[in-house]
């Protein structure tokens, strides 16, 4: 079998002070001002590959590059070094409500978001009932999206993205939202997708979730891939490194 995700010697750097965007006049302000303060590597020399059907959990403290890695795999960010190869379609559960337009109806939004993620109109037609059924908002189809409650907004967005027929699923802590009942439904949906042979790439702080879905773990620390092993081993190592001090 061929790997579905191949990450080779990947590095990406950011400006330390991300707010300091340059102004037009800075271009003419002489050389010294043009070299802005230090940059840092959010990730460096990271390599791994993922086989189809694997369920991978990314572990690490805040700011150690977890979400950046996920964005690189989703190809919504490009590495400064190395290469990221993703050989199959991706259903990214990242900023899932981002593409929704407040002024348009739920129906329009479903077609728009599903379409932008690569679904044809006919495919959306065929799945439409299932999508709105899962989100439990069949009564609000012609309501402008902005009038939905925040829970409903997330529900319909989750429902659309998980209906994509893509073999790779990326999840970035979105499951922390919604009420308990719906969260359980989301978990069940992800398990169902996993059972169907999808590949999962999962970023979370929640140990229980990681244990539940993932078989393999990637432990990121200070921009490096410290450990690539079974999820239990990875979590044990992470806990040993950052044990809560009593």
């Amino acid at each position: 079998m061929e790997p579905v995700i191949e990450v080779t010697d990947v590095g990406i750097r950011f400006k330390r002070n991300r707010q300091s965007r340059r102004n037009f006049k800075d271009l003419f302000a002489g050389k010294n001002r043009r070299t802005l303060s230090g940059e840092f590597w959010a990730l460096r020399n990271v390599s791994f590959s993922v086989m189809p059907g694997e369920a991978i959990g990314v572990v690490g403290r805040n700011g150690q590059g977890k979400s950046t890695l996920l964005k690189l795999v989703a190809e919504v960010m490009l590495p400064d070094e190395g290469s990221v190869g993703v050989h199959q379609g991706v259903a990214p559960l990242i900023e899932i409500t981002g593409g929704f337009v407040p002024e348009l109806t739920v129906r329009d939004n479903v077609y728009l978001t599903a379409g932008l993620h690569g679904m044809k109109r006919k495919e959306v037609d065929a799945r439409f009932d299932e999508i709105v059924g899962f989100a439990e908002i069949d009564k609000f189809l012609d309501t402008p999206y902005k009038h939905l409650s925040s829970g409903m907004k997330v529900r319909i967005a989750f429902s659309v993205v998980t209906q994509l027929e893509e073999p790779i699923i990326l999840v970035d802590e979105v499951l922390a939202v919604g009420d308990k009942g719906f969260r359980e439904k989301c978990y069940a949906r992800i398990e169902e997708l996993l059972a169907g042979g999808r590949t999962l790439f999962f970023v979370s702080h929640n140990e229980k979730d990681l244990q539940r879905f993932c078989t393999r773990g990637l432990y990121l620390d200070k921009g490096e891939l410290k450990l690539d092993a079974g999820i239990t081993e990875v979590l044990a190592r992470y806990n040993a490194d950052y044990a809560p001090k009593v």
């Binding site: 965007r21 102004n23 037009f24 989703a74 919504v76 400064d80 593409g99 379409g115 044809k120």
Partner: protein, 256 residues
């Protein structure tokens, strides 16, 4: 779907999203999109024709002459202005979908282009009332539209990523657009440029493009040298645009 089909599909989705968004939130929808060029045409007509008495500048009927360039200008102006905000407004979508990023420019060109096409009936109405006659040069509208779409896309590719790093650029673009309005043959014709400036004016690709549009009513406005230069300049801008966009892309994605 092949990548090309996927791009085309997303292009239509985004353009129709923009149009739906505009028309779902305003009662006068269509009227607004033609009101701007119409009002401007009225003002220029009054100032240049009634007050200044334009002499032999431009062509008669002057209102038709104005609209043949003002309507395409509204498309160009709208798309470039919006391109300065494209990455800012679409940031959330860009962070969650991996459609080729040029789509944030091309969908603007398309949605503004559709509005332009929808405004053509206004020109027809004025042409009928003033008795302007159309000639066979009207077929040049097709290459004119294609060429303008190409040029607008190319300039959008340059402007959109640069604004992310240079906040002030969107103000500069506003100023440049205002200058460009008067530097392009809109209130006057291609042939009205003084002889000394004539050659240099052709480097502005809008010269050739507007000359093509106008030929439909005023064949003497067709100037092949300007048209040729417009093609050359547009293709050159496309090359620069693709290069700038490609080089800035990774940094833009980090910044938004």
């Amino acid at each position: 779907m092949s990548p090309f089909a996927q791009y085309r599909h997303a292009l239509w989705l985004l353009a129709s999203r923009d149009l739906k968004k505009r028309y779902s939130t305003s009662a006068l929808g269509y009227v607004w999109s033609i009101l701007d060029p119409l009002l401007m045409a009225g003002i220029y007509f009054f100032v240049f024709s009634v007050i200044f008495g334009r002499g032999n500048i431009g062509e008669t009927p002057y209102i038709v002459f104005l609209l043949t360039a003002l309507l395409p200008w509204t498309w160009f102006n709208g798309a470039i202005s919006d391109a300065t905000r494209a990455f800012e407004f679409e940031a959330k979508l860009i962070r969650s979908t991996k459609i080729p990023r040029t789509i944030w420019v091309s969908s603007l060109v398309l949605s503004k282009g559709v509005e332009f096409l929808a405004s053509i009936p206004v020109l027809i109405v004025f042409a009928i009332f003033t008795g302007a006659t159309v000639n066979w040069h009207v077929v040049f509208w097709i290459p004119a539209i294609l060429l303008q779409a190409l040029l607008t896309f190319a300039l959008g590719l340059i402007v959109a990523p640069l604004v992310v790093f240079l906040r002030d650029l969107h103000r500069a673009v506003k100023l440049i657009l205002r200058v460009l309005f008067y530097a392009s043959p809109i209130v006057y014709g291609v042939t009205d440029m003084p002889a000394g400036l004539h050659f240099w004016a052709a480097f502005n690709p809008l010269n050739g493009i507007f000359s093509l549009y106008r030929a439909a009513f005023f064949p003497q406005q067709l100037e092949w040298f300007s048209v040729l230069m417009a093609v050359v300049m547009s293709v050159a801008f496309l090359g620069i645009g693709l290069l700038v966009f490609k080089r800035a892309e990774a940094a833009v994605l980090k910044e938004i």
